[in-house]
Amino acid sequence: MIDLHGYGPRLLEGAGVTLQLALLSLLLAVVLGLITAVAKMSRSWIAHRTATLYTTVIRGVPDLVLMMLLFFGGQIGVNMITDWLYYQFDIDIFININEFVAGVVTIGLIFGAYMGETFRGAFMAVDNGQIEAGKAYGMSSSLVFRRIRFPQMMRHALPGLSNNWMVLLKTTALVSVIGLADMVRVASEASKATREPFLFMMVVALIYLLIASVSEWLFARLQKRYSIGYGEED
């Protein structure tokens, strides 16, 4: 067995942090992505422009810079708002922007922009006749969205979603830079302490590959489920 110099449990804990961070960011990204996609397809000029500005700016700036802006600047910004609330309305709240929150918000924001593009393409791929049929049955537009557009959109969105998830998973490594004890942070501390960088980095790389492989398998199953009735070609 390989000797992890007693860092094994901490590495495992770090892997847990990475996974939590990735899943929460994914959730935020999917929600933001759906909102962005709907806004981009909307006839409202303001919604369309806002969504375009959001995706353009986010995709033009490095993730690390955004993360630092949010982590170092976020607390100052939030404090300014809470201070103002306190002096104006006597509402005393304290919001702490820790590394985890900053990580989730940044990664969610970044991938929300990418997901927006994925979802928009997928929504456009849903046959218009389907939506018309739903309306002809007397469904409200929210019901059409829930029962017809969303499930059929997912079939087209899944390949892009899977790609985004793989990139998102790797992006979580950046939170180690702002100080969150994810597995990369633990491994880099262990490398410095034991002078065995190869060992620890390889272990972390293997965990990343393992998570990626498991998610690939999960996505393949999801794809199968959402392709029911479309034959085997996808």
Partner: protein, 243 residues
């Protein structure tokens, strides 16, 4: 030039953060970022062409090692690769006393190696896809003309694959520019490094990071514009014909 500098100095006199000194930090950072990204992209591109051809080889002993390389480097975070090479080099026994240390002491070289290996892996897969999607008819036509496989590769497959790979490669260039921000983690004074320095010195996160974000945004747009222009020129024959 002299009058421009005095004008700039007067403009900057009003604020305490964007002095000529910090601006020159940003300028140095910009140079470092551009050098790092440009060099790794060029070396990665040169390495990717034979790797992509080898990736489609019929021989398992050529194909599988290349596949393993691209799988690992595309499947793990660049930060891990950077740490592995950076710390890996630092902790090799006796390296700090050897002549190699003169080159390796500067974190620029380990970062360049990590970035090059990473972009080469992605570029290999991009080319691989483009080579694979070459239409059969083109290859058959080349064979019918009596071209050898090597000549077919050089004259038919590679040139058309290059063009088809262009949009995806443009994305890779932007990805690399953004990924290069992590160079600041191993104490390189790139653009992000300059922003971190300014932040630490003045405790002004908004000024420091928003300014650098704007520079990255401009660079991204410049790359986008360049590739769009290149695509228009090189992929003109694939555009729908008008008139």
């Amino acid at each position: 030039m002299e009058s421009l500098l005095t004008w700039l100095e007067n403009q900057l006199a009003d604020n305490s953060i964007f002095t000529l000194q910090t601006l020159s930090h940003y300028a140095d950072g910009l140079t470092t970022t551009v050098q790092l990204v440009f060099l790794s992209l060029i070396i990665g591109l040169i390495a990717a062409v034979p790797l992509a051809i080898g990736r489609g080889s019929r021989h398992a002993w050529i194909k599988w090692p290349i596949f393993a390389y691209t799988y690992v480097f595309r499947g793990t975070p660049l930060l891990i690769q950077l740490y592995l090479i950076y710390y890996g080099v630092v902790f090799v026994d006796g390296i700090q006393e050897s002549w190699l240390w003169v080159i390796l002491e500067d974190p620029f070289i380990p970062a360049l190696i990590a970035f090059t290996l990473n972009t080469a892996a992605y570029t290999t897969e991009i080319f691989r896809g483009a080579i694979k999607s070459t239409s059969k008819g083109e290859i058959e036509a080349a064979r019918a003309y009596g071209m050898s496989p090597g000549l077919t590769m050089r004259r038919i497959i590679i040139p058309s694959a290059f063009r088809r790979a262009l949009p995806a490669y443009g994305n890779e260039v932007i990805f690399m520019l953004h990924a290069s921000a992590i160079a600041s983690v191993v104490t390189i004074m790139d653009l992000t490094g300059a922003a971190r320095f300014v932040y630490a010195r003045y405790y002004a996160p908004f000024e420091a990071f928003l300014f650098v974000a704007a520079i990255y945004l401009c660079l991204t747009f410049a790359i986008l514009y360049f590739f769009r222009h290149l695509e228009k020129k090189l992929l003109a024959h694939l555009q729908p014909q008008t008139g």
